[in-house]
Amino acid sequence: MLLELNDLSIRYGRVQAIEALNLTVGEGEIVTVLGSNGAGKSSLLRAILGITPVSAGRIAFDGANITRSATPQRIAGGIALVPEGRRILINQTIRENLLLGATARGAVGDLEPELAAIYDLFPNLAERRDMAASCLSGGEQQMLAIGRALLAKPRLMMLDEPSLGLSPKVVDQIFDLFKRLNADGLSILLVEQNTGKALSVADRGYVLERGRLAVSGSPQELRADERLMRAYLGGGAGGTGGAAPEHAIS
């Protein structure tokens, strides 16, 4: 297994964001994690990257226990995150944003060939490479965020709701890209609320309901499972107190 989570729990004070979760991503797999607002999806990805501390459990990457490793080491080891909301640095140029993706690799020599490969992938970025990233549209920002993550040379790319706020055409485009990157050997852990789209590219999926695993399985199994639907309705009837968690701005 490339990534293996054992009984992972994350809590913020009294709020239990993830509870005793077991999850794996195999080499070359696309795995999706689905769940409604506040299900704990972002917390999960941030814990895997080492930004959010875990309260219990174990994270192993490529066989090594990384539960206590610092974020730069994890990224250097081959994990990259395309964060929720893209988090582009708008005061820096497109080129600088891309270069920042390679930070954890240390003083590597010439990055120009890798930049050129990204520009090939996203011609929109190429034209404006030396302009401030604030000039980009939402879709282009998402492309920049993906390109930036690729510059970390990841073996596992984690994406947090990449389709959020994008037009269907752009969503199709980036999901096609995920397929191609995956065919080239990149493993992907994809967090989405766009269930249909995510299941269309995934090999396996997990559905979270308020931090707990509701169901997991193949896309066919999940599509047929009423627990997937239920997870999106906020855990059953009536919208009780816990059903409307405050929104974390990650």
Partner: protein
């Protein structure tokens, strides 16, 4: 007149160093580090102390600067890092505590009197068409410019500079990208502290006196220079520092020393009323670096 302008620019270059030092801290870490005038003072007083102990001045200055690096790291450890997550006023007040601590440590070490600083550059002056340029002053003007240009270049063009600017814009994103804040933040404290301390050393060589409280007035002018230039903007800090230096020298020349502070702070007040965001700042969006 031209002579006064030259003198003003040279005094201003000291303020520039302190203002840029403060600006790095505010612009990158969003932290108004009140210990900076203390680090300025340590630069001057420790150099004096080492010379008095019989060391050659270059060795004395280098020792003082190294000591300031250590002091800056101590400040980082016990203000910024220790109190992360608390209200923003907490590290501010504790850095003020470090200013007072440094001042009193030096008070115990050297006493409260102004100490005469030895003239190590025996009268080497340049005369250019009627203008008298003092050697040490000229060196400090050039050195200030070189240092600030260098910092600006590092920030713009290097890998570390990009990482620092990323932290300035959004520390959390910087963390997600794998920027090692535990390593970069102390470096920022050292760079900022060194600038202030170099200012203190140059002040001592130029004006030939040091005291445990020499940082206060300069620190106040440095903060004013930073604010009038536009908080967090290096070029603003430079403009502000030079402006204050020139205003100060001119008002001494025309009105006498009793009026200096009235004129200097009067001008600043007027400027801030006219441009509340500072010379290089924007009112709504604080521009960084």
């Amino acid at each position: 007149m031209a002579q006064q302008l030259v003198n003003g620019l040279m005094l201003g270059s000291i303020y520039v160093l302190v203002a840029v030092s403060l600006t790095l801290s505010i612009g990158i870490l969003n932290f108004l580090n009140f210990s900076i005038p203390g680090l300025f003072m340590l630069g001057g007083v420790l150099t004096w102390l080492m010379i008095k102990l019989g060391f050659a001045w270059p060795l004395a200055a280098i020792t003082a600067l190294l000591a300031v690096c250590v002091a800056a790291l101590v400040v980082e450890r016990f203000t910024y890092r220790w109190m992360k997550g608390s209200d923003p006023e907490v590290p501010l007040v504790s850095s003020l505590g470090f200013l007072i601590l440094f001042e009193n440590l030096m008070l115990v070490a050297v006493g409260s009197d102004q100490q005469a600083f030895p003239q190590v550059f025996a009268d080497f002056n340049l005369r250019i068409g009627g203008l008298l340029l003092g050697g040490p002053q000229l060196i400090s003007l050039v050195l200030s410019i070189v240092l600030v240009v260098m910092i600006s270049w590092v920030l713009r063009k290097t890998r570390y500079g990009r990482q620092v600017r990323a932290i300035a814009e959004d520390p959390e994103t910087a963390g997600i990208l794998g920027i090692d804040l535990q390593r970069i933040v102390p470096l920022v404290f050292i760079a900022s502290g060194l600038l202030a301390a170099i200012g203190g050393v140059l002040f001592a060589f130029n004006y030939l006196q040091v005291s445990p409280f020499m940082g206060e007035e300069v620190g106040l002018k440095g903060i004013s220079a930073m604010i009038v230039g536009g908080m967090g903007n290096i070029w603003g800090a430079i403009a502000g520092g030079l402006l204050i230096g020139v205003t100060e020298v001119f008002s001494i020349y025309f009105l006498g020393s009793d009026f200096v502070d009235i004129v200097v702070y009067g001008v600043l007040l007027v400027l801030l009323i006219l441009r509340p965001g500072g010379l290089f700042g924007r009112v709504e969006q604080r521009e960084k670096l």
